[in-house]
């Protein structure tokens, strides 16, 4: 197993992972999308709404605002000591009290916990005109992407196979070079060479067009993994996902111990 970074930023990582089974890579992808917890607004209490939008539409729009939070500080509501009723250990209130004329942005919310706040302050929620008023308490809690997409910690999370392209006995007819939609094949001297193998989408156009059957595109155990995160660093998302998988295996072994005895 080898890991090699192609791009390494706080909000986006692209890396090559070598010699691992697809099952592992796909499980990591699924764990990132569906099992890594984040904070998002679950429901809102509307005390006053004279804006043009219905309460439900406001609730939906506010729910989709990504929130930055220290998620280790909070419990899942169903596992909290309060029994799911809601307490400072499992939920945060964000208050909004504004009057028009004004465009309401995500940055206008006043949070009970200063560490829990919208990732971006410039997300428009609703435009208020003269005399319109909003008084809202938005209640945020931890959740996972399996429940609703607003709790996903990432926007893009995908992997693709890095194929192996083998060219032998080529007659240099150039048909494959023209057929490749991503232009990764090139003639260099008496040979056809692959420019950027990471761009290959395995469309097999070059194989179809080759009359000598000289090109072979094969799957390998190497993958190009892309993660673009929203509310926490991309590397942290990846680490959390792997830890979730690991804990599941540990937990299952713990239960199986009791079954055997």
């Amino acid at each position: 197993m080898e890991v090699e970074y192609v791009e390494d930023r706080e909000d986006k990582i692209v890396f090559i992972i070598k010699n691992v089974p697809v099952a592992l890579v796909n499980s990591i992808r699924r764990a990132i999308i569906g099992h890594v917890p984040t904070m998002a607004v679950d429901y809102i209490n509307v005390y006053m709404n004279t804006s043009f939008l219905y309460d439900e539409m406001l609730a939906h729009r506010i729910g989709l605002i990504p929130l930055k939070a220290d998620i280790d500080k909070y419990n899942f509501q169903d596992k909290c000591e309060c029994g799911g009723e809601g307490c400072p250990n499992c939920q945060v209130s964000l208050r909004l009290n504004v009057e028009g004329p004004k465009t309401v942005y995500s940055g206008d919310f006043i949070s009970d916990d200063p560490e829990v706040k919208p990732v971006y302050d410039n997300i428009p929620v609703v435009e208020l005109y003269e005399g319109q008023q909003l008084m809202i308490e938005a209640v945020a809690r931890l959740g996972t992407g399996k429940e609703h997409a607003k709790w996903k910690p990432v926007s893009i999370c995908s992997y693709k196979i890095i194929p192996k392209i083998e060219i032998s006995d080529c007659s240099l007819c150039k048909a494959c070079v023209e057929a490749c939609p991503r232009k990764i094949l090139e003639i260099k001297g008496e040979k056809i060479v692959v420019n950027d193998i990471l761009k290959c989408s395995m469309c097999m156009e070059c194989v179809k067009v080759c009359e000598d059957n000289a090109i072979k595109v094969e799957e390998t155990d190497n993958y190009l993994f892309t993660i673009e995160s929203i509310s926490m660093p991309a590397k942290e998302v990846l680490k959390r996902a792997i830890n979730i998988l690991k804990n599941k295996a540990v937990e299952m072994n713990e239960i199986l111990k009791h079954i055997n005895s």
């Binding site: 890991v3 099952a23 796909n26 499980s27 830890n243 998988l245 690991k246 295996a249 937990e251 072994n253």
Partner: protein, 86 residues
């Protein structure tokens, strides 16, 4: 996670793994099939929303529960290796 034994014998076991989905079970199935002595390892999710996944393992005579334990230990090892390389 909640594991219930439906059927058990010397060389086979049928478990219900409540609260899990493809995320973990597909990984477990892959490592079970790599395990020596395991002939069949298969899981089935009757319904994606309400179903409780069934895991079936058949071996050539070795303890199937022990095979699952070894597969899980392999997952932990792989995850630790990956964590150290990130």
């Amino acid at each position: 996670m909640d594991v219930k034994v439906v059927e058990i014998g010397n060389d086979y076991v049928k478990l219900i793994v409540k609260g899990e989905d493809h995320t973990f079970l597909n990984l477990l199935q892959h490592y079970l099939l790599e395990e020596e002595g395991v002939i069949i390892a298969k899981y089935n999710i009757p319904h994606p929303l309400v179903g409780e996944p069934e895991l079936y393992v058949k071996t050539d005579g070795t303890d199937p529960i022990e095979a699952i334990k070894r597969a899980n230990e392999k997952i932990v090892k792989v995850c630790d290796e990956l964590l150290s390389k990130i």
